[in-house]
Structures are given as C-alpha cells and as structure tokens.
C-alpha cells in the first residue's frame, strides 16, 4: 500500500472533523473530565488536535520521552490504566461516529495503545 494511514483516513480534514466530537466526549466523561479542568479551551483544542494527529499516524514530533513529560503532572494526580482505557474508548467511539472502517480504527487504536507505558510513566 503506497499511502500511509494518515493519508488514507483523510489527513488534516479528518483530524478537524474528529476534534469536536472527541473533545466533547472527553469533557463530558466523568471518569476523566477532571484531568482537563484546569486547561484553557483554546490550548486544549490544539492539544486534542496533536493527540488525534498522532493517533492517526500523522506527522508529529513527539518522542516517548515527551509523552512521559507531557503527562507526568497527571500521573501525580492519579492517572492510571482505567483513565487510559477511557480515552481509548472515546477515541474508538469518535471514529465509529465518523464511519471510519473497523480495520483503520484498529490501526489507530494500536498506535495510541503503544504509548500506554510512556503516558502512564512506567
């Protein structure tokens, strides 16, 4: 296959379509919304976009180390596997709503899943 995942799913346009849906889910999910309370909406929306671009296999400059640092303050507040699972669920539900084919959803879930230990600081 010549195109990578990010291109196959529709690149930045797909990310833009997903941001609103995903972010609304995260903010209203009682299991995890508290982690997003203190963060300014404007910056958050940009970060959700970074998150989705990453999960969609798009261009990014995040290393495992950066993921670790970026979430370290959340780990201190008790971020654990159950929260990680909730984010994964919201991601999958968002993609389903956008009618993304299951095989592509699985590819994206695998990319996000690969960061679990870094995000949780293990």
């Amino acid at each position: 296959m010549s195109q990578n995942l990010y291109e196959r799913i529709g690149g930045e346009a797909a990310v833009n379509a997903a941001v609103d849906i995903f972010y609304r889910k995260v903010l209203t999910d009682d299991r995890i919304s508290r982690f997003f309370d203190g963060v300014d909406m404007e910056k958050q929306a940009a970060k959700q976009k970074s998150f989705l671009t990453f999960a969609f296999g798009g261009p990014h400059h995040y290393t495992g180390q950066a993921m670790r640092q970026g979430h370290a303050h959340l780990v201190k507040q008790g971020l654990n596997d159950s929260h990680f699972d909730a984010v994964m669920e919201n991601l999958a539900a968002t993609l389903q709503e956008l009618n993304v084919p299951p095989n592509l959803i699985a590819e994206m879930a695998a990319i996000a899943e690969s960061t679990r230990d870094d995000v949780l600081g293990r």
Binding site: V19, D20, Y23, R24, L27, T28, D40, M41, E42, K43, A45, A46, H61, Q69
Partner: protein, 330 residues
C-alpha cells in the same frame, strides 16, 4: 534546552519555557500584555528556526507566512533566532481622537479619525501605544457605515491606560496604534445561521460592532445579544440597542444584571447563564463571547458542550496586561 538568539545575544530557555518568559527572566524587555496568546502585543518574527503551530494561531495569514509568532505562546523544541516585528510588516498607525463621551459611569466612547487605508472588520481589536505600554481595545465601529473608529473604554481602578484615556486624553490628541488583529468578527458565510452574542462590561464594544455589521450585510438568521453587568448602572447603549431591535425583527437584545436588584427592565442573573438557559442547544449556531476573561473562558466551554462547533466559537477574553504584575514585583 533551546537557545534563543536575539539582538546579537544568546539566551538559554528552560524546558517548556515560553520565549517571552525566557527573555523576561534574562532581563530582556519584550512588549507583552495578556501572556495568554490573545492580544498579539508580543508578536515577534523568526529569522531562523520554526515557530510552533500553537504560537502562530490567530495571526493573520500574511504575517504567518513571514514567520511571525506570539512569544508568549512559543515553547520552542529547537534553537531559534528571532527579531522584533519589522515596521514594514506591522506599521505604526497614526490617528487622533475626534470625540469622547461617557456611555455610563465607567465606560466612555472614543471616536478616532479612521486612518487612511486602514482595513478592518467590526469586532477586531487594535493595540494602542502609550509610552512604553501597549493595550488592546476592540473596534465597535462598522467600516461600511462609520467613517471613524470607535472604542469603548472601561475605567479600571488604578488602571494606567484606561485611567489616562478617561482623565487626560481629549479630542485632538494624537494616538499611535497597531492593527487590526483577531478573528472575532462577522463573516458572510451563512446569512441564515443563528448568532449568539454574549458580553460583559465594555465587552459590548465588539458585539455592538458585530451585530450592526451582520445586519448591514443582510444577515437573515436571528441575532441574540446578551449584555451583562453587575448592576444596572454598568449597562449602556440600552436605548440604542432597543431601537436596533425595533428596526430589525431578527435582532434581539437582553440586558442582564447579576448583582441582584434587577427591575422589570432587565433579566436577573449572569448573561452567559441566562443565554444558555434560554438556548440550551447550540448545534449549528455561531457564537461571539467578549469581555471579562473568566466569563469568556467558562462560557466557551459551556457553549461548546451545548453543541456549538469549535470553528463557530469566536471569543475575545479581555485579559489584563501582565506588565502590571512586572511593575509591582521588583
């Protein structure tokens, strides 16, 4: 740790430190005000190295292409060489005050001569220079109908620039400004869309401009304006807004008073809460939020959760300037 080259010297930033914070920590004075990526007073130019995407948000296209960025929002991943804006890219604009009148106890209307060739949209803001200070004020005038620039300035207790404008500045005085900036303005994308405008205090300035701009451009969808203040004396342009609502059937005005003691003429409560109670479902609406920064930020989240799309939410939180704090701490 990224290094920043600026005016022939090199400064080392801490990890995750903004360019503005890093330079300030090293004792380098850089113009700034809100420190929150809103006011654009900290605009700088990258000579080498790439500014982050976040640090270029809200900057107009032509400047973005010339690698302008907001120093307060830029946390560089690599070394950069930077410079202050070039006068050719960001010219200083000279104008003068042509009129000044009180709108209520604390808010005055300033009319400025429209500078030659100054192209703007109602609701955008300008950055006003006064000595070493830079402050943002929103444009309440509509370019198609008003041949002057209009600002509404609220007096802030011990406020340096608002105080100077209220107490000293008079018709005939020269003013220097940059601009216009920001994307809090009407655009004729969909003239049937419903618009929700929520503002507190002098946050009415951009909304007064946006509402009249939309009507002048033939907007057909409903336009709901909620203006809030703690007490009734903080409201203004009440008569003019009521007349606008009489002239245009699609324009609706709701004055709100949050501090209690509201009479039959005003709704009692906070403007954003009253608006959301009346309109809990905002799918497909376009939203404008201006004024008190806390109100704007919390309303932004609420309208988003009520269904408004992020790209349909325009907000200008009137963040205070940060140089107030610098001046206060030695």
């Amino acid at each position: 740790m990224p290094r920043i080259r600026y005016q022939q010297r090199t400064y080392v930033l801490k990890d995750d430190e903004s360019v503005l914070d890093g330079l300030t920590r090293h004792g380098v004075a850089v113009p700034s005000s809100c420190r929150g990526g809103v006011c654009q007073t900290c605009l700088m130019r990258a000579v080498h190295g790439d500014p982050s995407e976040i640090s270029q948000r809200g900057i107009k296209e032509s400047l973005r292409e010339r690698r302008y960025f907001l120093a307060c929002a830029c946390r560089p991943g690599a070394d950069m060489e930077i410079a202050l804006p070039d006068d050719n890219d960001l010219p200083l604009i000279m104008t003068e005050v042509i009129g000044k009148e009180p709108l209520n106890q604390n808010i005055s209307r300033f009319r400025l001569r429209a500078p030659h060739g100054f192209v703007y949209r109602a609701g955008q803001f300008i950055n006003l220079h006064h000595h070493e200070h830079l402050r943002s004020y929103s444009l309440a005038s509509v370019p198609q109908t008003d041949n002057y620039l209009e600002l509404h300035v609220q007096r802030i207790t011990a406020g340096r620039i608002s105080g100077w404008l209220h107490d000293k500045c008079k018709a005939g005085d020269p003013l220097i400004l940059h601009g216009p900036f920001g994307d809090c303005h009407y655009s004729k994308r969909d003239i049937d869309q419903t618009l929700l405008l929520i503002g507190t205090g002098s946050g009415l300035a951009p909304l007064w401009g946006i509402a009249r701009d939309a009507l002048a451009q033939g907007h057909r969808g409903a336009i709901h304006l909620f203006h809030g203040s703690r007490d009734a004396t903080g409201l203004y342009l009440i008569g003019a807004l009521r007349r606008l609502a009489q002239r245009h059937r699609n324009f609706h005005y709701t004055p709100c008073v949050s501090g209690g003691g509201a009479s039959g003429n005003y709704r009692s409560g906070r403007a954003d809460e009253i608006a959301l109670k009346q309109f809990p479902h905002l799918q497909g609406w376009r939203i404008f939020l201006c004024g008190n920064a806390e109100m704007v930020k919390s309303a932004k989240k609420k309208v988003f959760l009520a269904g408004a799309a992020l790209r349909d939410i325009h907000a200008d939180p009137f963040e205070f300037s940060a140089d107030a704090h610098i001046a206060a701490t030695p």
